[in-house]
Chain length 335, copies 2
């Protein structure tokens, strides 16, 4: 480990996990922390809720399909949603850089409000700080969120079992590719939009169908590769992904090819990975396909005891390839 | 109003209030927001709690009496405490700048842990983001906090009444002056230390004595002047402060004189302003003086219906001077 912070420490992959596990977690851990889970589960006296926080920094602030305001609400709401909670109350803390245009701030706050309405969450408290020019990047937004349990029991690593099915609620890598195109000023004919959105309709549909997922996560930083590797590291199980079942929009696939990027490590911001009992898989797909944002839902793999601690990609050619926890330069910095 | 963010927008004074009231509040306000209160009160179903957020940016990171880690815990815990809650659960979100020394990060996390232990709060969830060099300032820390009600009824602007007494739990301006000396590299013989600390022992003492304050606030950004002006703006009452009752440590007073600063606008980070019924004032002082961090507690003024919407300083010379909401260059940027 280096002795200073590097960009790789924020990549969602190996280096970030090492920093968190070697430096941050030991310093603050207590009986309530649930590394590597993103949210805390509070059950004490008459306080029963889920609690999480996310800081959002993104360049550019505005991109096809969203902006930092939408992301700040949906990203944090999604951490509660994939933990099995209904996001209810949110805080909004802004770090504004001197010189930032107030018109852009207003546009972003409008997005915050719209996405909060869509997610059914209320922004109830806030905070504003200003830093000198050159000490920020226009605006950083932290949101913390409180939710109430929606599934019983709540999803957890320890409920994942051999032969469970892995369902992805839609196409992968759209968010990361949309942001990268905008940031690098690439000229792309295709209409590639970020998938950023709160997963509330997805969870409502599952709940209405009586599906109780064993585990859920959202493949943000580090993409599907990081999300799946976190699961196998936290359990004694493995994961087999089926390449021909992964949904990648053709135009996204083309850009990834062009830039030499692996879609498996590119973030989504409006997708969930669901792990459900094999016998629940069809019911889950039926529920999902009625929801606009999940109409491309597919079973993309299965849990395998035999592959303990490994994520394996079964390729269209029939070969088996190890998918490692992404690291270093393989990971473009997107969110 | 300008069309870009200026440093004054973060000063805790007039410009910040204008930004929040003209731009931020209208965009996100709903039935649950309680401007200008720092924390939300949630009472819905079986969820009853207080919720707040603060982003902490400070230069230098380390100063006599504390560091950004201590401040991140105590500052946010204090928002819950002055709202009448017991801080219970906290989130910790870091924005790290590329190149920041991990040894400093470890030192800061150690402070987080120590202050959390002192405040009786558990850090239960976290988040880490890294930004490129030149897009941050070593480390920014956001903490959000959940608390449970400790006083019944909870303190609120609308409980403040004519002739209530205003009690300050200790000396003013220590934090701001300590940070300024360190930042400007001033050579000062005197030992001036930040007062930063969670107010938990103060609130425990009040609660044990059965004192139920009408209102509480902590004079952080913008100092006592901003805190008192927020009160008169939110009510139809006024405040009379007694200059000879304000406790200013001699060495702090000297530095303020030297730098031409008004101690009334300099932040404290471990003090509270309590507004209590006149008949509760003695009982309150007795309770406070048993607590180490509040041994200099004093009645510094009273609520006055006659002075509606004004903060007045009754000087040692017997004159009455208006204390305005601080603004612009009068306000050194400290926290």
């Amino acid at each position: 480990m280096t002795d200073t912070v590097t960009i790789q420490h924020g990549n969602g992959g190996r280096e970030m996990h090492d920093l968190i596990h070697a430096c941050i977690a030991p310093a603050i851990a207590n009986a309530h922390t649930r590394f590597p889970l993103d949210s805390a589960q509070i059950h004490s006296g008459n306080l029963r809720c889920l609690f999480t926080t996310d800081s959002h920094v993104i360049d550019p602030l505005f991109f096809p399909g969203g902006d930092i305001g939408k992301l700040a609400v949906s990203g944090t709401a999604n951490d509660i949603l994939v933990a099995g909670g209904k996001p209810c109350y949110m805080s909004l803390a802004l770090i504004l850089e001197e010189g930032f245009a107030l018109a852009d701030l207003r546009r972003i706050l409008q997005s915050v409000r719209e996405e909060a309405d869509r997610a059914g969450v209320l922004v109830v408290t806030g905070y504003t700080k200003v830093v000198e020019k050159g000490k920020g990047d226009k605006v950083y937004i932290n949101t913390a969120c409180l939710g109430t349990p929606m599934f019983d029991p709540l999803p957890h690593f320890n409920r994942i079992a051999d032969s469970d099915r892995i369902i992805m609620t839609g196409s992968i890598a759209d968010h990361g590719v949309a942001v990268m195109i905008q940031r690098e000023g690439l000229t792309v004919e295709a209409d590639i939009r970020s998938d950023a959105a709160a997963l509330s309709p997805v969870m409502d549909a599952l709940s209405a169908q009586g599906v109780v997922p064993h585990f859920m996560t959202d493949p943000t930083r580090g993409g599907v590769a990081a999300a799946c590797n976190e699961i196998v590291e936290a359990t004694d199980l493995g994961i087999v992904l089926l390449q021909d079942k992964l949904v990648i929009q053709p135009q996204v696939d083309v850009v990834c090819e062009l830039l030499g990027l692996d879609p498996l490590v590119i973030p989504s911001e409006g997708r969930a990975i669901l792990i459900v009992a094999a016998e629940d898989a069809d019911k889950t797909l039926t529920a999902l396909r009625d929801v606009a944002m999940a109409r491309d839902a597919a079973i993309i793999g299965r849990v395998s005891k035999k592959q303990a601690k490994r994520v394996i990609l079964e390729t269209t050619a029939g070969t088996h390839v190890r998918v490692p926890m992404p690291y270093g330069v393989n990971l473009p910095r997107i969110c």
